[in-house]
Amino acid sequence: MSDATVSEIALPRAPGKAGRYVYISGVVLLCAWVLIPLYLLLVNTLSSPETVNSFPKSFIPEFDLGSLEFFTGFSGMLVALKNSIIVAAITMVLSILIGAPAGYALSRFDFRGKELFRLLILLTRAFPLPLLALPLAVLFIRTGLDDTAFGLALVHTTLAIPFSVLITFSLFSGIPIELEEAAWTLGCNRVTAFQKVVLPLILPGITASAIFAFVISWNEVFAAAVLTIENRTLTAFLLQTLSESPLHLKFAGGFILVVPALIFIFAVRKYLFAMWGIANR
């Protein structure tokens, strides 16, 4: 009896061999589940247009750049790519410039209305924000912002701002206020103390949250498709040509969409969990 209890307690610490194999194969299987579809997209992208449209398909890429060449040569595609980058860059700058001060305020001050403000921020996340592109389309025509990169970037900033506020809030909270106070006693004022002490510490985190804003904008489809007509972004362009474009163009386009995302997630992976962990409370 007592033996059984002991082994039961010991079980989780040193699981049996069979249990270990199940565990490891589970992890491998789930990694394959994520990676194999990506690999298949890569195979299609690195194959000639003829191969992409043929049957049956090989599971090994032939390293032919035909599909990618077709993609870059497709009329309007490079402009769309450029638009995507411009919109994402504006979103990145706006969301940090507007969001970071609020994150600092939340982490350093207790003020009346703080809870209300936090509620407003959290509320925006629980909303299907791209829908708000519909009324803004009308508003933008009146103000001359229709079909511009800046107009779309404003909508994407609404998407990115709750994240940039909450992420910078968690970053600033990670820096003890004592450091700033020490700088004040040593002759700094609020601004110089911020510049010399807080900013250098916070910069990598700010970069990560800026990258996150970039990816949010880069990936967004609905608002981009609603708000741009001539100056379409890559996602809007691909969406609107879905029904008529050939397969190899779709796959090359999808691949171009995926690549920056892979790099960005790799670059911010250290902050990913800190960002979301704090964003909960």
């Binding site: 039961e8 049957f55 599971f59 909960n280």
Partner: protein, 281 residues
Amino acid sequence: MNARLLPYVLIAPVTAFLCVFFLYPFFLVAQQAFTTGNGFTMDNFREVVGYWKFPISMRNTFLLALAVVPIQLALSLLMATMVNKMKRGRDLVLYVWTIPLGISDLAAGIIWLAIFEQSGFLNSMLHGLGVVDQPTSFLSYQNLTVVFIAIMLAEIWRATAIMLVIIVAGIGLIPKEYYEAAEVFGASPWKRFVKVTLPLLRPSLQTALILRVVLAFEVFAVVAALGGSTFPVLMEQIYENQFLLQNSGTAAALALIVLAISIFFTLIILRALRVPKGATI
């Protein structure tokens, strides 16, 4: 600067921005939905609800959310527990599992299109195994179940990572002492998961579910890439009303319906998973 005013100065940009680009458009979309040129009317709603595609797209959107969200919840909890026990390779596995977080829904749709299209990898594999001679056209009216499964798989593949990140961060916040205490009293791993992890994870589960459910009702680009017009969903109907029919009134009415559904489910989740007053980790 006055220390009492400073926090308000810092939050002013975000507040102003959200008022103009979040609260105001929200008001505008309601105005668009309830007017047709001569005062208050329900005509837009009557027209939208009376359209033959409305019940189908409503049913499809709900079916998809119902099929996808529970699987994602279970899968992300499983992945989070697996990664929690991991000693070596944790960072690598987490990176791989969070890759889809950075991938656009349009790109995810295209990736699964590479597998399910007529000359795609699923057909190639079935052909290689000798199951079929001729490639089947999976994504057509004749195979609506396969269309549904393809969209479901793409959604699960793409959006499980967002729940995983929140849950992993949440599990990291649970003090180890609770597990040690449970172990001392002889609780099995499953018991510990149900009695310790799940209750203490409530705030994270709340956030994860709200974000995920709201996104589930916003499903658009994945469906556009895989199903096209064979599988109408609500967001696609909005897009159609705005663009093909050029009717911003009916588009706004549909948008309000999606907003109402999102808010309804957010409130339900908030209530179902509320943290008892005074209880903290």
